[in-house]
């Protein structure tokens, strides 16, 4: 490939980095310089910054935000959380929970479940040392936004499973379906007529995809025309 030979000889360009990350330029932060950002920088930006960021390849990458995606994320969080709490299986956290998957890699899934097994001494809720935990979740849920590219999400998938995540759900709002992964390559697509299964991660848990996309509707107005 001509592009590869050219790249071998010339210093890396912004295009190379954007290709590797699979992220639009508007979501890649320039300070600290790309490639040089550390976990410390991530914490600083997390505390003082204006937007949630992930730390990937020494680079701060903004998480896309969307109202619909926000609703879907918190809705699916609530649906899973109910089951997790009822059976006391572990901890369920929404999109504010950062996970340091490996050194230099911090991801912010939209919702994640961590089983008790992953915390030998239990999670630290009283005065935690850091804003992230150095534990990979058992289940990670991502609601796909417009600016998420296939490359970005494919890379994220690889990272999740490498770090020990056992189940990943990619919620696709436009197609109203959920991609279910039990490994980076093992994918099942579950549509509106299908049912998500907690498998070994959440034994006994089932969630119809229709319930995921069950958008709230305003009640019909009470008026004279309404038949009693």
């Amino acid at each position: 490939m001509a592009a590869t030979t050219r790249r071998d000889r010339t210093p890396p360009t912004v295009g190379d980095l954007l290709d590797a990350l699979g992220v639009p330029a508007g979501r890649v932060r320039l300070d600290p310089p790309p490639g040089r950002a550390t976990e410390r920088d991530w914490v600083d930006q997390h505390v003082a910054g204006d937007r949630p960021c992930e730390l990937v390849a020494g680079t701060l990458v903004e998480k896309p935000m969307g109202w619909r995606e926000g609703w879907l994320g918190s809705h699916i969080f609530a649906l899973i959380r109910e089951y997790v709490v009822r059976h006391n299986l572990g901890v369920m956290v929404g999109d504010g929970g950062p996970y340091r998957l490996v050194p230099g890699l911090i991801r912010l899934p939209d919702a994640a479940f961590v089983s008790w097994d992953r915390f030998p001494d239990g999670p630290v809720f009283e005065s935690p040392e850091r804003p992230y935990i150095e534990v990979a979740p058992d289940l990670a849920v991502e609601v796909i936004s417009e600016s998420n590219t296939a490359r970005e999400m494919g890379q994220k998938l690889g990272e999740y499973f490498k770090a020990g995540v056992r189940l990943v759900w990619y919620v696709e709002p436009d197609r109203k379906e959920v991609g279910v992964y039990t490994s980076p390559k093992k994918k099942a697509t579950v549509g509106l007529d299908g049912v998500l299964d907690g498998g070994k991660v959440l034994p006994g848990f089932t969630l119809p995809v229709a319930a995921v996309f069950d958008y709230p509707a305003r009640p019909a107005p009470r008026g004279k025309k309404r038949p009693r």
């Binding site: 000889r9 010339t10 210093p11 890396p12 360009t13 912004v14 295009g15 190379d16 980095l17 954007l18 639009p24 330029a25 508007g26 979501r27 890649v28 932060r29 320039l30 300070d31 600290p32 310089p33 790309p34 490639g35 040089r36 903004e62």
Partner: protein, 230 residues
């Protein structure tokens, strides 16, 4: 190379790319981070890869190269030279002539010309004390190549105007015309097409160049009996 990383003035890559007219990201160097590069980085082949780069607001941008544009630029340079040299009017520079307008702004017009009498010490032009020419060119010529974006060229024009360039020619090989901007201002823009004769204003008084001479093919007819190369 600096060890302490300077803080970029741009928040995201999109902001930096917008500053250079949304050129393809593959033309923007990743290191030093856009917004933090200095003129000295232009002199380091490990950073530029030995390719012609400009420095715009601390962003290293590779000049778009194209054989057609390069051929035309060198030809235009020779046409100007034919007029300039007999009178010894000034110094002509090719596409690697780096003009430093500001500490973090270095541009390399495809062809540029400075009159000897425009500078305090003409020797500074023949053998500049540093790696850069710290005077603005009197005439800057840019030949469009396919990778140039209109926004990129508009931004460049503004910089030429601010730096004090007296005359700017934008040569468009596709449209076969030349846009002339006195003092780099869009207000005085005039388009010279084939059939028109380009003049040199106060920079090159008496200069007259038919636009057709720039674009007309000078390649002789193919030799008979030889196979054309693919």
């Amino acid at each position: 190379m600096a060890t302490t990383a300077a803080k970029s003035k741009f928040r995201t890559f999109a902001d930096a790319l917008a500053r250079v007219g949304d050129v393809p990201a593959a033309r923007v160097r990743l290191y030093p981070a856009p917004g933090t590069a200095t003129a000295n980085d232009l002199l380091d082949p490990a950073i530029t890869g030995g390719r012609g780069c400009e420095l715009v607001d601390g962003i290293l941008v590779e000049k778009d190269v194209g054989a057609r544009a390069e051929y035309l630029a060198y030809w235009i340079g020779r046409l100007i030279g034919r007029f300039v040299d007999p009178q010894n009017l000034g110094a002509l520079f090719g596409a690697q002539g780096p003009f430093r307008f500001k500490l973090d702004l270095v541009r390399m017009p495809d062809v540029s010309f400075i009159r000897w009498d425009s500078v305090d010490d003409p020797a500074d032009l023949e053998d500049p004390p540093g790696a850069f020419i710290d005077y603005p060119p009197d005439l800057a010529v840019e030949v469009f190549s396919p990778g140039n974006t209109p926004r990129e060229m508009a931004i460049k024009l503004q910089e030429y105007a601010r730096a004090g360039v007296k005359l700017v020619w934008y040569v468009d090989p596709e449209r076969r015309d030349v846009d002339v901007y006195p003092k780099g201002r869009t207000k005085g823009k005039k388009t010279f097409r084939e059939g028109d004769v380009l003049d040199g204003g106060a920079v090159l008084p008496g200069f007259a160049l038919p636009v057709a001479d720039i674009f007309k093919s000078r390649a002789p007819a193919k030799k008979p009996g030889r196979r054309g190369r693919k």
